[in-house]
């Protein structure tokens, strides 16, 4: 059976058995989101490539650790990418410099034909960004600094010269609001 016609969760079973064709399909489906997330976090193309390469090779070598009861394959893949990207960021000397480069990241899709899956992903991405745009600036800031910047709540409190309790409150309120804005999307992504 063509692995492209197989659901992610079933591909993971094949991947556990060392099926490199199954792995390739997993990469095709999630490579773009993985690279985008890595780039958003580490801020340079070469570091993002390192992160994605390490993350997917780790996934290939430890596919047996995927547990379908704990979420989708995409959530798992992007969780690995996020973890490695934050690690990379913390090791990197450009941590502070990177934040200034966040502005003006251009969304780029090559002119090749898009599959339905990619179109759906793009729509999803737009929906998440629209939801983020609805957050009050102070809530958006702390959510982004924590998730994409890898800063702890106390680091953010120091950075923004704001009490720790306020930072925690903004995080929670921001996430609650995002949940409301995203509606069914967050159910689907589980």
């Amino acid at each position: 059976m063509d692995p492209r016609s197989i659901a992610d969760e079933d591909l993971m079973q094949r991947l556990r058995d060392g099926d490199d064709d199954a792995f390739e399909v997993v990469y095709e489906r999630h490579g773009t989101a993985a690279f985008s997330l890595a780039y958003r976090i580490v801020g340079t193309r070469s570091a993002a490539e390192d992160v994605v390469q390490e993350a997917f090779l780790s996934l290939w070598r430890s596919g047996a650790r995927y547990d379908a009861t704990r979420g989708s394959v995409r959530t798992w893949v992007l969780g690995i990418v996020h973890h490695r990207a934050i690690d990379n960021l913390r090791r990197s000397a450009v941590h502070s410099k990177r934040r200034a480069s966040d502005e003006g990241i251009e969304e780029r899709f090559a002119s090749k034909d898009r599959t339905d899956v990619e179109v759906a992903r793009r729509g999803e991405a737009e929906q998440v960004r629209r939801a983020l745009d609805t957050l009050p600036a102070d809530q958006l800031r702390v959510v982004e600094l924590a998730y994409f910047g890898g800063f702890s709540h106390s680091e953010i409190a120091t950075m923004l010269e704001t009490p720790v309790g306020t930072i925690k409150g903004r995080m929670r309120l921001g996430l609650e609001k995002l949940r409301h804005q995203l509606g069914g999307l967050v159910e689907v992504t589980r």
């Binding site: 060392g18 099926d19 490199d20 792995f23 390739e24 990469y27 490579g31 773009t32 989101a33 690279f35 997330l37 780039y39 958003r40 976090i41 070469s46 490539e49 390192d50 390469q53 997917f56 070598r61 979420g71 959530t75 969780g79 990418v81 996020h82 990241i105 251009e106 969304e107 899709f109 090559a110 992903r121 999803e124 991405a125 929906q127 998440v128 939801a131 983020l132 959510v143 924590a146 998730y147 890898g150 702890s152 709540h153 309790g165 930072i167 925690k168 409150g169 903004r170 995080m171 309120l173 996430l175 609650e176 995002l178 949940r179 995203l182 999307l185 967050v186 159910e187 992504t189 589980r190």
Partner: protein, 253 residues
């Protein structure tokens, strides 16, 4: 009422930390306390379950960019290589595949670092950890410690590691490795031989761990004249009869 407390109910301990927890932003100490409370409190688990999907969706908030095709080529080359090695370990034949397309300019800045075994065809272009005798497969070496063997190329799956192997034919061989990480606790590296006409790796009693600087010089035992490949994999202390993990080092003779 706060968002951590419902009317008529007691406040849930640590509820104020739920947002920071799901974002992975709690300090280590607080995170430890939170995790302990999470074990105890179904209410807290419910709050985490309520917000976790939001964080799971956050990656899509990053501007979407195409991953470079050269990145995919590199990853797939490593994966194909390791899959073939694993099949060899299981006694299965390699799969026939067309050579991957070479993306113009693909080496670029990425040629500086690689993780994982590289495709045979790419070795000549990549700064893979070692490599002596590129292109010719192997070459006579002057750096063989006076042993008179041939130095053959070695591929290593660890970033920054280097190595070489001296093949002395019927006298066996010697692997010289640097930058090798320690294996997991209670594990060692084990050397395997793949003999001509038999893809199943033959175990050797060459077991080793690198010294504190990541160096290892390992004698490869046996007659290597009919050996196609020397592999190294991480195995439980004492060694295994067949590889239990993907080989991380390979030398093709």
């Amino acid at each position: 009422m706060t968002d951590t407390q419902r009317p008529g109910s007691d406040p849930i301990p640590h509820a104020e930390n739920v947002g920071a927890w799901v974002l992975g932003a709690l300090d280590e100490e607080t995170a430890k306390d939170f995790a302990a409370e999470l074990e105890r409190s179904p209410q807290l688990r419910a709050q985490v379950a309520h917000l976790q999907p939001v964080v799971d969706a956050l990656p899509m908030g990053a501007p979407q960019m195409d991953a470079p095709s050269a990145l995919r080529d590199r990853i797939m080359a490593t994966v194909r290589e390791e899959a073939d090695l694993q099949r060899a370990a299981n006694g299965e034949p390699r799969r026939a595949r067309p050579e991957p397309e070479v993306t113009p300019g693909a080496s670029g800045s990425r040629s500086r670092r690689f993780l994982g075994l590289r495709p045979w065809t790419a070795i000549g272009f990549a700064c893979l950890a070692l490599v002596v005798g590129i292109g010719a497969g192997f070459a006579l070496s002057t750096d063989d410690g006076g042993l008179g063997g041939k130095t053959v190329s070695v591929k290593i799956a660890f970033v920054g590691a280097t190595g070489k192997m001296v093949d002395r034919g019927r006298e066996g061989g010697r692997l010289e490795l640097t930058g090798i990480p320690n294996p997991d606790k209670d594990h060692v590296y084990q050397v395997w031989l793949i003999r001509a006409g038999n893809p199943k790796p033959v175990p050797t009693d060459a077991l080793f761990t690198p010294n504190g600087q990541g160096h290892s010089t390992v004698n490869v035992p046996g007659d290597l004249r009919d050996v196609d490949q020397v592999l190294v994999s991480e195995e439980p202390a004492g060694g295994s009869q067949q590889p239990t993990t993907t080989p991380v080092i390979s030398a093709t003779i």
